[in-house]
Assembly symmetry: C2
């Protein structure tokens, strides 16, 4: 079977549409870091997903900071900085350090690392660095650090992928029942452990629903904005919290929904218009239709039993 | 409630244990790219996860290549290169371009982009660049490119996270039933749609099983190697295919399992020793015990019904 060719969504030169260019760059997923330093006894911290390991010998890492950042002078002057790699539960910290509010450390739990740069709690890893050099990179400056001390913790990473926060999941092929016939190609469902079956069904359902969303002319960010505003009007920061979107995709989606007459803005507060509420209702109906289609022909009492079993597992497995 | 402090897994200076340092760097998740160019009419391509967007105005991106790479001269000499961002189904391509085999393009479906650099099929995005500058970075060279043409396709990204390939999943909080009480904090299970319930149970179960694996003194990579070798002896490239691991984590895990007397090597072929088979059996028993514990007290006929419903959903949702 020849795999179908993918659909081109957007194409062009970067200067013709910067937002579309940014969406294209967003196809590369990343973890999320908060990078910190101390300058003139004041702690500084910024959220960055431009982090990358660079060299093993010497041990170098890099990241980049906007020339327009208020923290630029601190990071190009201070002799040390620390990279805090965030865990899956730290969306709030990511949003907090991406904001422009002053005194970002006042409300955050941190302690000074070996060179004084702030280390946050509950992170996945820290890399405490000496500033090696800075390099010019257009409207950003590349900061290269020499790692002096690393610390790795257990846990799962926070991801930033296609404009929204996400979690990393094992590829379900890894959960097959071990058997001589095991391979990485799809197995008949009967060979799967219950947990693997769960993982597959979840993955396939999430892919399949994407098409239904597109049928409403909505992308993922837009549907999240509708969801976020369905519970009442909100300011941008609340919308970002409710929708798990970062500032730029949230602003993009708000703008496109406004142009479509689905969202209105009064001062700094956004809310759904009547046609926005209609679109949200359509999306909800689409979700219900999707579930009904998938469940069609399965006896209601079997579905109820499945639901009961899953609720029991949910209660048992949910961390306290 | 105070969140528990995370457990420190490894800590130190990079030079004392380069492998542990690399595992720490692996806590930062990334997408996967294949970067291509043409030099003296020959196409070159390397797998890279060091890609990062750098600047919007001018539109710059960067990545880094090892000084020891055979493709170094091509990428520092050629005037153009293309970044191919891989989709979730392209593990094979990632492994292929990470290998050192010659004539990598002979067996791959590609076409020349606007500046001649190879563009692969079925990718998520391409960025066709002019070489802007190269910068020194220890044992790597930083390549900075100016984006001249971007193309975005629909689809889901391939991830590289904590030493293995992975998929990005929506945070399950986003699948709650829309209701006035909806919030991003955990909801009682009764408020969840069936699909959201599935997503939560899958996520919590995967986290919870991590502890059981640790009880066997195994990390994720090691357990995958055991799994990969349980079906018979194999060479490194087959092990990487079966385990969804990249070269370094696979080599690391093979080495630690060899030291533990669980894996033996003859020529370039690896297999489980008797104690390796024992460890694999223990892990299998641990998985079974875990499922039994979670399912304890739920009537067998309810579990069978759940399994039947999930198998039906699996069959319906699985892409043809």
């Amino acid at each position: 079977m020849t795999a179908p060719r993918r659909e081109v969504v957007e194409q062009g030169g970067p200067s013709t549409d910067l937002k579309a260019f940014r969406r294209c760059l967003g196809q590369f997923s990343t973890g999320v870091t908060v990078i910190t330093t101390v300058c003139d006894r004041e702690p500084f911290g910024v959220t960055a997903n431009s982090f990358s390991s660079l060299s093993m010998d010497p041990p170098l890492v890099l990241w980049s900071i906007a020339r327009s950042s208020r923290s630029l002078a601190a990071f190009t002057t201070a002799k040390h900085f620390a990279v805090n790699i965030l865990a899956v539960g730290q969306v709030d910290l990511s949003q907090h350090f991406a904001s422009s509010q002053p005194k970002k450390f006042a409300s955050v739990d941190w302690y000074p690392g070996v060179f004084g740069s702030p280390i946050l709690r509950e992170i996945l890893a820290s890399l405490e660095c000496e500033l090696e050099t800075t390099l010019q990179g257009g409207d950003h400056v590349i900061i290269v650090g020499r790692v002096k001390q690393y610390t790795r913790y257990s846990g799962n990473p926070l991801l930033y992928s296609q404009g929204r926060y996400a979690v990393a999941e094992d590829h379900p092929s890894l959960l097959l029942k071990p058997s001589p016939s095991a391979s990485t190609t799809a197995e008949p469902a009967g060979d799967l452990r219950l947990m693997a079956l769960l993982a597959y069904v979840e993955m396939y359902a999430s892919d399949a629903f994407d098409k239904h969303r597109q049928r409403q002319g909505l992308n993922l960010s837009q549907s999240r904005i509708l969801f976020a505003l369905s519970t009442g009007s909100a300011q941008l920061s609340q919308i970002m919290d409710r929708s798990f979107l970062a500032r730029e995709p949230a602003e993009d989606a708000l703008e496109s929904l406004s142009q479509r007459g689905c969202v209105m803005q009064q001062g700094d507060t956004f809310s759904l218009t009547e046609s926005g509420r209609g679109l949200f209702a359509n999306l909800g109906a689409e979700i219900e239709r999707f579930e009904s289609e998938q469940l069609a022909g399965i006896p209601k009492q079997d579905i109820d039993t499945t639901r009961k079993v899953l609720e029991k597992l949910y209660t048992r497995l949910k961390p306290a």
